[in-house]
């Protein structure tokens, strides 16, 4: 059974400039131990999707439709109280900035023990024990001593490890990670990716890894969903999507990444820029930037269609493999 099954999720923001459909009909599912890469550029709705799953969207935003089935329960229908007993317990979130998770004026010990005891009736000593084990698990040296430290006494990479440790404290079934390594250096990023990879494998925790970095997804995720203007435009097993993209946007993104043996050549850039989410075009949102566009695309928006085992695509004129690298 899948751990998470999101169906037709709609999260809208009701602003003065109009209704912004930040997430507009997103669907995906995730099995235990599986890693989903949710990829997109800024404003594509990838983070709002993550926040919606944890019901952390603030006004003027609201989840207005769809189902979020977590182990058979629809999260959208739970009371705030029920939701709070899941958050940080069965479902955890890791943010880009670890200081979103950590309280700067409390010792790590206080914060971690609190997170355990909020959900389990255990003694302080038992909670502390668990905190030490988890800190050691994410590679923090001498964890028993470090518990007494305040967040500012850690380096950026260490702080992110602590945030990850807090996410792991109660052995969640699902972790939503929102760009957790974007602000880190390459060597620190790869340390954290290594830890996370092992964790998903060993504990069976399902993981949603939200990022703009396709290269990270290539190395980490089992499957990938590419978002553009609030919708998933392409999804499928990571290797299939990255080696043979079907959507012109995915193709464009891949072409935009420098540094795989095409030194000095012009990058195949996507013209224009991300659309204004309050005034999306009538048809396909990508149409104004697309090189395969025609009248159909401008007239109506394409629906998502299955183009193979576990592969979905939202395009009237997908790139077919027989065309070669056109």
């Amino acid at each position: 059974m899948s751990v998470l099954d999101v169906r037709d999720l709609q999260t809208h923001f009701f602003t003065d400039a109009g209704v912004v459909k930040a997430v507009d009909g997103v669907s995906f599912s995730l099995d235990a131990g599986e890693v989903l890469g949710l990829v997109g550029e800024s404003g594509s709705g990838k983070s709002v999707t993550g926040f919606s799953i944890l019901r952390l969207v603030d006004a003027p935003g609201r989840v207005v439709g769809g189902q979020i089935n977590f182990k058979g329960q629809d999260l959208a229908t739970l009371s705030n109280r029920e939701m709070r007993s899941l958050r940080g317990n069965r479902i955890a979130m890791i943010f880009q900035d670890p200081m979103m998770t950590l309280n700067p004026v409390l010792r790590i010990e206080t914060q971690m023990v609190e997170a355990v005891r909020a959900h389990h009736r255990v003694s302080h000593a038992a909670a502390k024990d668990r905190a030490i084990r988890v800190l050691a698990r994410v590679g923090i040296p001498s964890p028993a001593d470090r518990l007494a430290a305040y967040p500012h006494q850690f380096s950026g990479g260490m702080r992110q490890r602590v945030a990850i440790a807090i996410a792991l404290l109660n052995g969640p079934d699902l972790i939503v990670a929102d760009e957790p390594t974007t602000a880190l250096d390459v060597t620190i990023q790869s340390q954290i990716l290594a830890e996370v990879q092992e964790l998903a494998r060993e504990t069976g925790t399902a993981l949603i890894w939200i990022t703009h970095d396709l290269a990270v997804v290539a190395g980490l995720a089992d499957k990938v969903s590419v978002m553009y203007a609030g919708r998933i435009v392409e999804s499928g097993p990571t290797d299939d999507v990255l080696t043979a993209p079907g959507h012109p946007y995915t193709e464009g993104l891949l072409g935009s990444i420098p540094g795989h043996g095409r030194r000095g050549e012009r990058l195949t850039q996507i013209p224009g820029m991300a659309p204004n989410m309050a005034r999306l075009p009538v048809g396909c949102a990508f149409a104004p930037r697309c090189h395969r566009v025609d009248e159909t695309c401008r007239a109506k928006a394409p629906a998502i269609t299955d183009i193979g085992p576990k592969r979905g695509l939202r395009c009237f004129h997908p790139i077919v493999e027989t065309e070669g690298a056109a």
Partner: protein, 332 residues
């Protein structure tokens, strides 16, 4: 090929002197010392005319400090910087000042480097008028030409920075740098804050400008993929010191310094399939208290006793130079 830019043993130290209370506390026996960070430690390299040199390293390695010294935004503690043979380390002479103008810088965050209260036309035109490259009557045309060069519509001249997207603002930053007709551009993480598709547009713009205006770049970035794409030669820094300099292909095909090897090993790549991420152990040490000898030795799998003792020299073979004892008589 003579060097356009030449750095000889350039260093930059940041010192924090003790204040009155701390001096008193020390006299009473407290363990307080003046702290000193060697942000850049005797850096030497050259940039030839028309070349793109990539400067890479992780946060705190001193790459931005080095760029700022070349741009003249930070004074140099030791060493000298020569531009076309003229010493520009201290820009007091008119000749040095004139050379300095040929060097311009493009910053990481265009929002904090553009004055939010100025219109684009003034942001771009101000320096050009001041330096006499155009005058008040013709500055509008001058700005239009520059906007066209960086791929923006001339209507942008009447806008303010907050009315534009990140990619457009970065183009304004580039236009402003180009306004004084520079020959040498320092790009300090200039595309790091941009989305992937916009990043590609700006990289292409840099390539076009290089060809059209005959520019030379010092391209500072932590993103090895970008540097591999754009640079002819690469300088790798670690904790204030240059550890390796080599032509791009040689560096990416056969890195010699263990740090460079580790760095290249850890870059997530497309087309590599599912990766097992391997890691360099440990963290980047504090520059306040760097390890003795080779700064990298506590994290280096090949370190020997000599690495803990002696600072490695940079040994040059052909056009590839490395500061590592492994290439200079062993680590014993």
């Amino acid at each position: 090929m003579t060097a356009m830019l030449e750095l000889n043993g350039v260093s930059r130290r940041f010192e924090k002197k003790l204040d009155g209370v701390e001096r008193l506390a020390r006299r009473l026996g407290a363990d307080l010392r003046e702290t000193c960070v060697n942000a850049v430690d005797t850096a030497s390299f050259t940039v030839a005319r028309g070349e793109v040199v990539g400067l890479v390293g992780e946060s705190g390695c001193g790459k931005s400090t080095l760029g700022r010294m070349v741009a003249g935004l930070l004074p140099v503690s030791d060493g000298e910087i020569r531009f076309e043979g003229i010493d520009i380390t201290d820009a007091r002479s008119a000749r040095a000042r004139e050379k300095r103008l040929r060097i311009q810088m493009i910053f990481q965050d265009p929002m904090s480097s553009l004055n939010p209260r100025m219109k684009v036309a003034d942001i771009i035109g101000e320096a050009a008028v001041y330096h006499g490259l155009t005058n008040r009557q013709s500055v509008a045309d001058y700005v239009d030409q520059l906007l066209e060069k960086v791929g923006l519509d001339r209507a942008f001249a009447q806008r303010y920075p907050h009315q534009m997207s990140g990619g457009q603002r970065q183009r304004i930053g580039i236009a402003r740098a180009l306004a004084v007709k520079p020959e040498f551009l320092i790009c300090d993480e200039s595309i790091a804050a941009l989305d992937v598709s916009i990043q590609a547009q700006v990289i292409n713009l840099f390539q076009d400008l290089r060809r059209d205006l005959d520019l030379t770049y010092l391209f500072i970035s932590h993103d090895l993929g970008v540097v591999e794409h754009i640079a002819d030669r690469v300088v790798v820094m670690y904790l204030g010191r240059i550890v390796e300099v080599a032509p791009t292909e040689a560096l990416f095909d056969g890195p010699r310094h263990p740090y460079t090897q580790a760095l290249l090993d850890q870059v997530p790549r497309l087309g590599a399939g599912r990766q097992v991420f391997r890691t360099v152990k440990g963290e980047i040490p504090s520059p306040l208290n760097p390890p003795p000898g080779c700064h990298f030795h506590p994290r280096c799998p090949m370190a020997g006793p000599r690495c803990r003792r002696d600072v490695p020299r940079r040994i040059t073979e052909g056009d590839h130079s490395t500061a590592c004892h492994l290439h200079d008589g062993g680590t014993e």
